[in-house]
């Protein structure tokens, strides 16, 4: 019974190969752009501060992430606005 359980447990979590690949892909985005992962959070806060001077934004749903192409990457910020007046349906 134990054996069967451990068999299923093993297959439930991603293989260590997958884990290695995912961790590498994440860390290399930061390595290649020479930026510490925690710095991205700081950038996000600063972007929110700057934009919110001029626009009403939905602070809780701002997303700032790197996206990785072949060997180039970009910083993508997704900043939802809070509507000034309700949109009539």
């Amino acid at each position: 019974m134990n054996k069967i359980k451990s068999f299923f447990q093993r297959s439930a979590q991603p293989s260590s190969r997958e884990a290695a690949k995912q961790r590498l892909q994440l860390v290399l985005v930061h390595d290649r752009n020479q930026i510490e992962p925690g710095m991205l959070e700081l950038i996000k806060d600063e972007i929110i501060a700057v934009i919110s001077k001029h626009l009403d934004i939905d602070r809780n749903n701002v997303q700032v992430n790197f996206t990785q192409g072949e060997r180039e990457s970009r910083l993508v910020a997704d900043i939802p606005l809070t509507p000034k007046r309700p949109i009539r349906k």
Binding site: N2, R17, K21, Q25, V27
Partner: protein
């Protein structure tokens, strides 16, 4: 045609740069090419031992640079392959004894006499690495399918591009087919996805490499060695041949795999 200068580097140490340089050098010489292997790991000389030529050294690369001997006198001729030569590193000095322009000068002097000059780089990304890359026409990066080696390789890919020596090509060394099959090791495809450079060879983990290195008799000489065959294929690819990439299966038999599985189960129960 003048020699192509190929630097073998890796970022991380211990991934098999020296073993690769020695074996690819032997394999190119087996193809009838004139090969000079240059040990640029100044202060940590090892290529001589892996090639089995350590007892024949009189002068080293620093002696050439500082004018104590001529280049010809420092080159050690292999007794097994008449077209294979070694220029040893100095063991007494450190990286600062060789400047990039010194190595460029030496390579320029070697070029008319050889088809290939293989440079075994120091690990790391500092002075030793930069010196070894300076004379390169091409760069080969050796990595292992393992997170730290791949991360360091990525750093080196970027540095090679920055000095306009790229694109580097990749050797995945010490692949364990059994672990890959079990989903517990990065596969060559994973490594290529991550690094986004061209592959030039896959070398399986092979005890025979250690044994042949113990004897100073590189595995590339051994017809039966799996790693030796891979190194010979890399040499053929470097020489412009279109050689399909090998696929590896777990070499251990069914019995060994079963007993390993049982052992793993009992150790898990014991916890």
């Amino acid at each position: 045609m003048p020699a192509r200068v190929i630097t073998v580097t890796s970022g991380k140490g211990g991934v098999g740069k020296t073993t690769t340089t020695a074996n690819v050098g032997v394999a190119l010489a087996l193809l009838g090419k004139r090969v000079a292997c240059l040990d640029a790991d100044i202060g940590l000389r090892n290529l001589d031992m892996v090639l089995g030529l350590e007892n024949r050294i009189i002068y080293d690369v620093v002696d050439v640079i500082e004018g104590r001997c001529r280049l010809r006198q420092a080159l050690i001729k292999d007794k097994r392959l008449s077209e294979l030569y070694l220029l040893p590193a100095s063991q007494k000095r450190d990286k600062s004894a060789v400047r990039p322009e010194d190595l460029i000068k030496i390579c320029n002097d070697l070029k008319p006499e050889f088809d290939f000059v293989l440079i075994d780089s120091a690990a790391g990304i500092e002075e030793g690495f930069r010196t070894a890359v300076a004379p390169a026409d091409e760069v080969v990066i050796v990595t292992n399918p393992e997170v730290s080696a791949v991360r360091d390789a990525d750093r080196v890919v970027g540095l090679i591009e920055a000095v306009e020596k790229g694109p580097a090509r990749l050797i995945v060394n010490r692949l364990k087919p059994g672990l890959v099959q079990r989903g517990d090791m990065l596969d060559t495809g994973d490594v290529l996805d991550i690094l986004a450079i061209d592959l030039i060879g896959i070398v399986p983990e092979d005890e025979g490499v250690l044994i042949s290195t113990n004897r100073g008799n590189p595995a590339a000489f051994d017809e039966k060695s799996a790693a030796g065959r891979s190194f010979r294929n890399i040499a053929r690819r470097l020489n412009g041949e279109d050689v399909p990439f090998e696929t590896f299966k777990d070499q251990s038999g069914l019995f060994r795999r079963l007993s390993r599985m049982l052992r793993r189960d009992s150790s898990r129960r014991g916890r």
